[in-house]
Symmetry: C2
Subunit: 403 residues, 2 copies
Amino acid sequence: MLKVLKFGGTSVGTLERIQNVAEIIKKIRDEGHDIIAVVSAMSGETNKLIEYAEYYSKTPKADEVDMLLSSGERVTSALLSIALNEQGYKTTSMSGREAGIVTDNAHMKARIESIDTANMKKAIDDGKIIIVAGFQGVTMDTNRVSTLGRGGSDLTAVAIAGAIEADVCEIYTDVDGIYTTDPRIEPKAKKLTQISYDEMLELASAGAKVLQNRSVEMAKKLNVNLVSRSSFTPEVEGTLITKEENIMEKPVVSGIALDKNQVRVGMYGVTDRPGIASTIFTALADAKINVDMIVQTVGVDGKTDLDFTIPTTDWEICKEVMETFKGEVGNIDYNDKICKVSIVGVGMKSHTGVASKAFTALANENINIRIISTSEIKISVIIEEKYAELAVRVLHDAYNLDK
Amino acid sequence: MLKVLKFGGTSVGTLERIQNVAEIIKKIRDEGHDIIAVVSAMSGETNKLIEYAEYYSKTPKADEVDMLLSSGERVTSALLSIALNEQGYKTTSMSGREAGIVTDNAHMKARIESIDTANMKKAIDDGKIIIVAGFQGVTMDTNRVSTLGRGGSDLTAVAIAGAIEADVCEIYTDVDGIYTTDPRIEPKAKKLTQISYDEMLELASAGAKVLQNRSVEMAKKLNVNLVSRSSFTPEVEGTLITKEENIMEKPVVSGIALDKNQVRVGMYGVTDRPGIASTIFTALADAKINVDMIVQTVGVDGKTDLDFTIPTTDWEICKEVMETFKGEVGNIDYNDKICKVSIVGVGMKSHTGVASKAFTALANENINIRIISTSEIKISVIIEEKYAELAVRVLHDAYNLDK
């Protein structure tokens, strides 16, 4: 098999840990697989370099920041290559450029446009283990080094796996897979063997941050089999994230996710003229605020109430936008003592009664639901924050996720 | 004017010092010059990376060491570019690859084969200050990053200055120029305004280590006007190293150099057969030992004595080579309590009596000369080490170098 393996900053955080990664790769190599390993910078390294840049400028030139930051991954790739080579394995490091990764021209947040796999294919034909410096490519127009932004090394791995048609793309972190819910909240949480891209995306957007959505979306688009597993317990099988058709047994509910970083915005007594909701939400979208759940209640006297949630990080900007609607709104309040609990599962599509089971379970504990929203494979509820962990455990139990 | 400026590891050793370098560049730019600055890694950075590599291997792969080490200069070039840009100057960093530097395939000690200046010329036409990551290029055959070995950033600067026909190449270190002798030994030493390439080469090989010989040789070959000056006192004019024809006033003696890292090897009672000296010195050359000064004294009974000097660093290897001649030699002894004092000056060519003045001056202080060797522009003497500093001061005085 051709395997793309990705090791994040924590997995390569020290010289000892890089040695540990070399051991993992050796074992897989000894099983007869071809390997392209994608590595991040040693943890702390990127932040150190950013601090260096900020010593000179609050807004350093993006192309120079890329020149600066891309060095971190180059260091890790060379070190890992040296460590494996010392043990008798044929290896080669590759910068993003050498790996053929071409991006658009948006420095610091570049998107991969294409990957020329010729250089990698040749190295594999030569029997080499390839160690690619993640997070980087070169711009299509200026041919300068670019970086892919947050989660960039995951993207590098997935994009390479897609371009070179690897059999699997294993993402190594400090967590050994995707769980039915956060084990710190519910110790009975179980690791999932498989999960579909869409479920993973819903879980991630609902607060389960093992994998970046950008990478899962790309894996889905390129039909890459992703595996989430741990470099600290490599003997443990991880969770396969794949397309729904590949999943044999489709559970009704796969997992419960919790997101505490939500603020509920209540707009009361909004003048009920045509297009008012559209105007408000367009203004929020223009300010790049991620509005999540929306409830509109038409009241009396030609007034209406609007309730919606936003991420806590967008709270300040949201307040500024809300100021512009002061004249048309009776009252605006904010509540950050809420949380969002989400139930995710592809099986919901073909099963009824999933939602009512959740409502019953929460009602039994006297937990009030403030807002509900549903998609084909997700039910989200907004509840008081103090019930967050209790709600997760109750729902985990209601769907028998510990079985 | 088009100026190439080179800043070494000490000059860019901290964030504050990089800011100081930015100030130097600003000032030169404001005078209306085009600038290509070549930078080293921040001091300590390269050694740190080498230690990292040695954690995994005593003999790390050379191409991976290059991938590793080349990151240090990239960081400095990006930071300096950011610092200058923040102050309103148009800048661009360039890796060795972007600067068009192509080397042979000898990783870790690559030689520059060619420089494609198109990218640099375009940036200068665009009004940009260029900051080149020194010490690196890409190999001609495999197109991988290579490094140039010790003094590599100086070489980068000189080679670029030659290729792009810069008016001057200024090498900034922590020393503000070339002195008539080491001011720590003779406080009356004077900074030279000008010196020829050949004098500089003789001074350097005689122990005055401000500039690497490799860079001076390249400057001579490419006819690059080199200036040695300090980034800590940039207001002080440095020393111009140029071709002899450019030097107006040719002093008889330009400087006195001292080299204490010498061992005198005495081979007594060597069987005097034809070719014996050749056999011995070929064996030493094969072991890459730099034999400096040689004296042969034909003795009685078909025996001969050989005296020569080697650098202290080659002492151990020399002993091994000498072992192989045991049968043909009566006795071998080593003396490291000696030193070499050299008198350098292009004016010697046309002046007589230079050597005799030295011999008289040393004799007046009862300093015995053990070996003498001369070139067209240099007289070197081996004396007892305890007289080293005294000899330097006496000779400095004899040639009126403080005037």
